[in-house]
């Protein structure tokens, strides 16, 4: 398969308060690629740097070090205004909290049309309105909704508005930062289905950030697991769930409660302690490819053990 790389993240680092005693290494040297048309899931606990990764990719933060290449073009390099604009049109973001990410003083029409205005995609008010109505219909709302304010909508509807806003400029790549974690179970399924349908229709590429592992597995083609700013494992979704290799991934998977009481009675949670690796001072801990497409952060010794494990 010759998949085309849409996004390349190379040795990305994002330190907050760099050089000070309070330095936080939110992203500590991570690398991964996202191919055109796929959904890449990024999971981990709160504070592991998954949201920071999303925000750094879209240049909401300036990276401390490393590179993000979108279609071969560096996101963080010095750019003219028009270059930034061109990039922003290709990359859009859907935020976690549909209550906080829509301006309460703006009508839905203006919220969705903001991108159209910035990029000059609508020639006159009539076209602008028509485009917004089309977008609303795409996400399962209707044209009456355009003249309302965000507070008149439920959480699921608001998230649909957030999706319509992201779609307004016809992006290729969407970063969805925990788009469903604030929603009810039955509504989560609606939004996930919508995202999947849109992907099929428009050939979108997603970076899907979440901590709900069961939903991530459902929507993603490949998944990366983050722990304390580092990517510890990366594999195709079903491989990761069937054959997790890094002890943290195993621990994370063993913690998910499933809607199955009989299974729940026998589920044993595996704890994870970073000290359990017992790395020696001169051991090189690197991201290594154990089986094709399945990467794990490990030492040379662990790597050999995992190879045996993976082939059984």
């Amino acid at each position: 398969m010759m998949a085309e790389k849409l996004l390349e993240v190379k040795n990305l680092k994002q330190y907050f308060n760099a050089g000070k005693p309070s330095e936080v290494r939110a992203i500590d040297n991570i690398s991964f690629d996202i191919y055109r048309g796929e959904t890449f899931g990024l999971v981990g606990e709160s504070g592991c740097g998954k949201s920071t990764t999303g925000r750094t990719i879209i240049r909401l933060y300036d990276a401390t070090d490393g590179e993000v290449l979108y279609d071969g073009v560096s996101v963080h390099a010095k750019k003219s205004k028009s270059e930034v604009k061109a990039l922003n049109r290709k990359m859009q973001m859907i935020f976690q909290d549909p209550y906080a990410s829509l301006n309460p003083r703006m009508k839905v029409l203006d919220i969705i049309a903001e991108g159209l205005d910035v990029h000059g995609l609508a020639k006159n008010p009539k076209e602008r309105k028509q485009k917004v109505v089309e977008l609303l219909e795409t996400v399962g709302l209707n044209k009456e909704h355009a003249d309302r304010y965000p507070h008149e909508f439920s959480g699921g509807q608001r998230q649909r508005i957030g999706i319509a806003r992201a779609l307004a400029v016809n992006p290729e790549f969407i970063i969805a930062d925990e788009p469903i974690s604030a929603l009810d179970v039955s509504i989560q399924a609606q939004v996930v289905n919508l995202l999947k349908d849109l992907q099929k229709e428009k050939g979108l590429t997603y970076l899907f950030i979440a901590h709900d592992l069961s939903m991530v597995k459902y929507i993603s083609d490949r998944i990366g697991v983050m722990y304390f700013g580092k990517l510890v494992e990366m594999a195709p979704a079903d491989v990761l769930y069937k054959n997790p290799l890094h002890p943290y991934t195993k621990s994370l998977l063993s913690a998910i409660p499933l809607p199955d009481p009989i299974y729940e009675r026998s589920r044993v949670r595996k704890p994870y302690n970073p000290k359990q690796h017992n790395y020696g001072p001169d051991e090189k801990v690197e991201f290594r490819e154990v089986t094709p497409g399945h990467f794990v952060l490990c030492s040379e010794k662990e790597f050999k053990e995992m190879k045996v494990q993976a082939n059984n």
Partner: protein, 354 residues
């Protein structure tokens, strides 16, 4: 089994500018001693309001008990005065809230907050209360409690804060513990720790727990019995196995089907269409009928009563009426029913432990 709490035909409304919101429309359930009852449902289904009305935490200016009673220790909690209620709250019945970031007082050391209910409800000296407080914090897994009681909430992580909230709730050995989405704000790994802690403590102190959540995985993990709420009513109640392996109400079917399963590779996730009902103008008949593909004509006209499935299992759906047509639930539900002895899809296990 000893019934510790009985809620009978509870009806409660809020008075708002838009009119009367009928948040609870006839809820009845019992809580047995030592059990965990999970109440599941979407936001707005009335699950939190039900428990807040047990604790009498709703603003009296805008909420009104229309009907029904809440029996605890022979008293009807809906009729107690505020001062009588204060003797129950925190002592006999206590509550764990969803968000540990906001349910602790940020300006007060945590030791003082844990000691508060002890000093209020038990005639003990401050020194003794401090001892109890340290023991409690140790029990919920806070390391070095002797030194940490002087610290403030912001010096703890989210999981630790929820542990402290649990310590406060347990301070007076309550008979009933109400946990309102106690793990929703936490990560899976922390959630697993808190659930394990709650189960541990329940064994130690023998308290009954009402557990509110919308996460069915959590329900399967903690609950003995489950009540499913929709549109201000309980639509199905049963043991955890009955609800997960022999569900009868179309809404329960929908909820269970919309959870992605870890092993099956489904093409499309089932999503319940539409949105929850507006309780300003609650629909006549079955509130779920408008979103249900299984709705019958009568669902639009008349609310279904609770039909008995077994001694412990009841569901409010006309599909259980003897005259109703027999329908097949969604595929994933039939798969679940196949494992349940007593369901009509039950299949004897082939081989193994038959």
């Amino acid at each position: 089994m000893e019934k510790i709490l009985q809620v009978k035909d509870l009806e409660l409304s809020f008075h708002t500018f838009a009119g009367e919101v009928k948040a609870i429309r006839g809820v009845s359930f019992d809580l047995n001693k030592g059990e965990t009852l999970a109440i599941v449902g979407e936001s707005g289904s009335g699950k939190s309001v039900t428990t807040k009305s047990i604790m009498r935490l709703l603003p009296e200016s805008s909420s009104e008990f229309k009907n029904g009673e809440i029996l605890f220790n022979g008293n009807d909690l809906t009729k107690l005065s505020d001062s009588q209620m204060q003797k129950i709250r925190g002592k006999e019945i206590s509550m764990i809230f969803q968000d540990p970031m906001t349910s602790l007082n940020p300006t007060m050391p945590i030791g003082k907050q844990v000691m508060e209910p002890i000093l209020k409800h038990q005639k003990v000296s401050k020194a003794k209360a401090k001892e109890v407080c340290v023991d409690l914090l140790r029990m919920v897994g806070i390391p070095n409690p002797e030194t940490r009681i002087k610290m403030y909430p912001h010096q703890f992580s989210g999981g630790q804060r929820q542990r402290i909230v649990i310590a406060i709730a347990l301070a007076c050995n309550p008979k009933i513990l109400i946990a309102d989405e106690p793990t929703t704000a936490l990560d899976v790994t922390i959630q697993a720790q808190i659930l394990e802690l709650m189960k541990d403590i329940q064994k130690k102190v023998d308290t009954s727990i009402i557990f509110i959540t919308h996460d069915l995985g959590v329900v399967a993990n903690v609950a003995d019995r489950v009540a499913v709420m929709y549109g201000g009513r309980i639509v199905e109640v049963g043991t955890v196995d009955e609800i997960f392996y022999n569900p009868q109400h179309p809404y329960t079917w929908g909820l269970l089907s919309s959870m992605p399963s870890m092993d099956l590779a489904e093409e499309k996730l089932y999503a319940i269409p539409g949105t929850p009902p507006d309780l300003l103008n609650p629909p006549v008949g079955d509130a779920f009928a408008l979103r249900s593909e299984y709705a019958l004509q009568i669902d639009m006209e008349q609310a279904p009563p609770m039909f008995k499935v077994s001694d412990t299992h009841y569901a409010a759906t006309w599909l259980l009426h003897p005259n109703a047509p027999q329908v097949d639930p969604p595929k994933t539900i039939i798969e679940r029913m196949k494992t349940f002895r007593g369901s009509r899809y039950y299949e004897q296990a082939t081989g193994g432990d038959a």
